[in-house]
């Protein structure tokens, strides 16, 4: 390599500078929530916490963990995420595999039928009426069935199968009398572990973060996913009374309400924060597979 020119050095400095500013702009809010969640609420509210936690206390977390609503939300979200994702992944992989087979008559019609729903839909009210007519309102089914498959994910999987499973492999297996389902289970799935991981992650995150369907389909608080409970605490300021029944004054209640918020943000994000570093490469891979077709 030739020695760096004057222009190159200037460019490098500016480049590092811009990206570092961007990095800090993304990082600081996350960091602040983390330190505020176990700092003394009075210090946080007075604006004395900037870089280092002040007056460390776990009072906020204690109150959150004692709150039954949060636990119900956690349990429900976990349930919806596990079963919803399982359903999603099974349907997506089987449908995508069938659609990837060139010898399947009518696959273009089915594909067109799926893709059209990406361009046009019935809208909120007709969708609500369908779920209502199926008597799914206010049941766990409303959290699982109306989002059983995503078109975009089918396209990703189909592209993956078409580009990684050679036709010769299928021909050879067929010659030996192997059925399609057997071929799918014994050959295709083992070759697609990265894809399956990507699908579990995409669907899993969307279930964990979903709140819209719960908002329109559920009335019963016992069925609420975590996101709806978070909304009540963070946005509608409806902190559960149990969390602060011992607080005597309004000021004390307000103080607690504010501290709890930082802790609640942490508690809600912790599963993702723990898993994210391990899963990052799969997410990126998923975007890449999707981009092939583009």
């Amino acid at each position: 390599m030739i020695t760096k020119s004057h222009e190159d050095v200037t460019f490098d400095i500016i480049n590092y500078l811009i990206l570092t500013v961007f990095l800090l702009a993304v990082l600081y809010p996350l960091y602040f929530v983390a330190i505020a969640s176990f700092s003394d609420p009075n210090m946080v509210n007075a604006g004395k916490v900037w870089l280092i936690p002040q007056g460390i206390t776990f009072e906020g977390y204690q109150r959150i963990l004692d709150d039954p609503q949060i636990w119900i939300g956690y349990r429900n979200s976990l349930f919806y995420t596990v079963f919803g994702t399982a359903l999603n992944v099974v349907l997506t992989l089987t449908a995508a595999y069938a659609l990837s087979r060139k010898d399947l008559d009518g696959r273009n019609i089915v594909m067109a039928m799926l893709v059209f729903t990406m361009l046009f839909g019935g809208g909120l009210i007709p969708r609500y009426l369908v779920v209502k007519n199926l008597k799914m309102l206010d049941t766990v089914w409303a959290m699982l069935i109306p989002n059983a498959v995503g078109v975009w994910n089918i396209i990703i999987c189909r592209t993956f199968f078409q580009s990684t499973i050679p036709d010769e492999m299928l021909d050879a297996a067929m010659m030996d009398g192997c059925s399609s389902s057997r071929f799918f289970i014994r050959i295709v799935l083992p070759l697609s572990s990265a894809l399956i991981a990507v699908m579990i992650l995409f669907y899993g995150v969307s279930h964990w973060n979903a709140f819209f369907d719960a908002l329109i389909f559920l009335r019963n608080q016992k069925l609420y996913p975590l996101q709806l409970i978070l909304r009540e605490i963070l946005i509608e300021n409806e902190v559960e009374l149990q969390m602060m029944e011992d607080a005597e004054t309004v000021a004390a209640q307000q103080r607690i309400a504010e501290t709890i918020k930082y802790g609640v943000i942490m508690v809600a994000s912790i599963p993702m924060l723990i898993l994210y570093p391990f899963l990052q490469k799969y997410f990126v891979k998923g975007v890449m597979i999707g981009a092939i077709k583009g």
Binding site: D105, M113, L114, A148, F212, R231, I235, Q280, V287, A291
Partner: protein, 318 residues
């Protein structure tokens, strides 16, 4: 004579072809079983609502059902177009979308070009890991964090403003702040994630091009401008088309969560209006009409933008 012979042959081949296809379809019955649940799901949950769209042209009465409710023609559409909210809703929806696109589209491209120039692979990795992370934060948590940070009395942002001697601002109650907060929180959350696709297409650019350019004495900025940027152009155009096609489809979730009684002037968009009028006030038919208007405009936009892209450049979605 020849004509008849050809015709019989044709019929014969057609028959044989049909027979072969039938045999092939029977042999593939398992694949059809694979498809069955998904097709049924789409028929019920996607084409079912499309059937239900007819209530936009009817007065929906629950006991009569979708089919039995009486037709009213385009009454609901007329009512919507003539309502005082129509222009506000349209302006808010389009404004939010265009602002989001103008600010949100170029930033990932610039970031990707800069990241691609980083000499330290380790630092690149750190920036990527950190800036991808917010993508996985839920909308509820994101908006909740905004409320906490922007609180007029206790929020971080107002503490900073006060530190510099400014007056605290109650951001979430100010209509003039709504769009900016919406757009920039979106950039904070997704700009890093948005670079992935551009970085992938940058890595596909042949290093020969860069070597040749260096030989010719091209500097870094020149190479970004003349090699990298044209290299990712097709990807950028596709993303732009996709975004333009969604310009009327501003998502419900974030706008609804960011709404307060005081910022409604700019935060009420078509999606939130449909939800409130339809589900909270139970005006099913009127709300379905508003939703249909939105969906049709969206579809027309997507198709025409794609057509324009096809005419101007070679890139298009289909």
């Amino acid at each position: 004579m020849r004509g008849v012979k050809e015709a019989t042959l044709e019929i014969h081949f057609k028959k044989q072809y049909r027979l072969k296809r039938w045999k092939r379809m029977k042999g593939n019955y398992e694949l059809y079983l694979f498809l069955l649940p998904t097709v049924v799901y789409f028929l019920i949950f996607h084409y079912g609502p499309m059937y239900g769209i007819q209530i936009a042209f009817k007065n929906f009465i629950a006991v009569e059902g979708i089919w039995g409710s009486p037709w009213v023609g385009i009454d609901h559409f007329q009512r919507f177009f003539n309502s005082f909210q129509f222009w506000t809703l349209l302006r808010n929806t389009l404004g939010l979308s265009v602002y989001g696109l103008a600010a949100g589209f170029p930033i990932p491209i610039i970031l990707a070009l800069l990241l691609n120039q980083l000499s330290s692979k380790k630092y690149k990795k750190i920036v990527q890991t950190v800036t991808y992370a917010p993508h996985f934060i839920s909308t509820v948590v994101l908006v909740g964090t905004m409320f906490v940070f922007l609180s007029p009395r206790n929020g971080l942002v107002n503490h900073i403003i006060e530190l510099f001697g400014g007056e605290p601002v109650f951001f979430m109650a100010r209509p003039e702040w709504f769009q900016t907060l919406y757009v920039f929180s979106g950039i904070w959350q997704n700009a890093g994630w948005g670079t992935i696709i551009y970085l992938a297409s940058l890595s596909g650019i042949s290093p020969d091009l860069h070597e040749a350019a260096i030989m010719d004495g091209a500097g870094r900025i020149q190479r970004i401008w003349h090699i990298d940027l044209p290299g990712i152009m097709p990807t950028a155009v596709i993303i732009l088309i996709l975004n333009l096609g969604r310009i009327m489809g501003v998502g419900f979730e974030k706008a609804y969560l960011m709404q307060t009684a005081l910022n409604l002037d700019s935060s009420e968009i078509i999606a939130t209006y449909v939800y409130k009028v339809g589900l909270l006030n139970a005006q099913f038919s009127f709300s379905a009409a508003v939703g249909l208007f939105n969906a049709v405009v969206n579809l027309i936009l997507l198709v025409s933008v794609n057509k324009i892209a096809k005419t101007i450049g070679e890139t298009s979605l289909w």
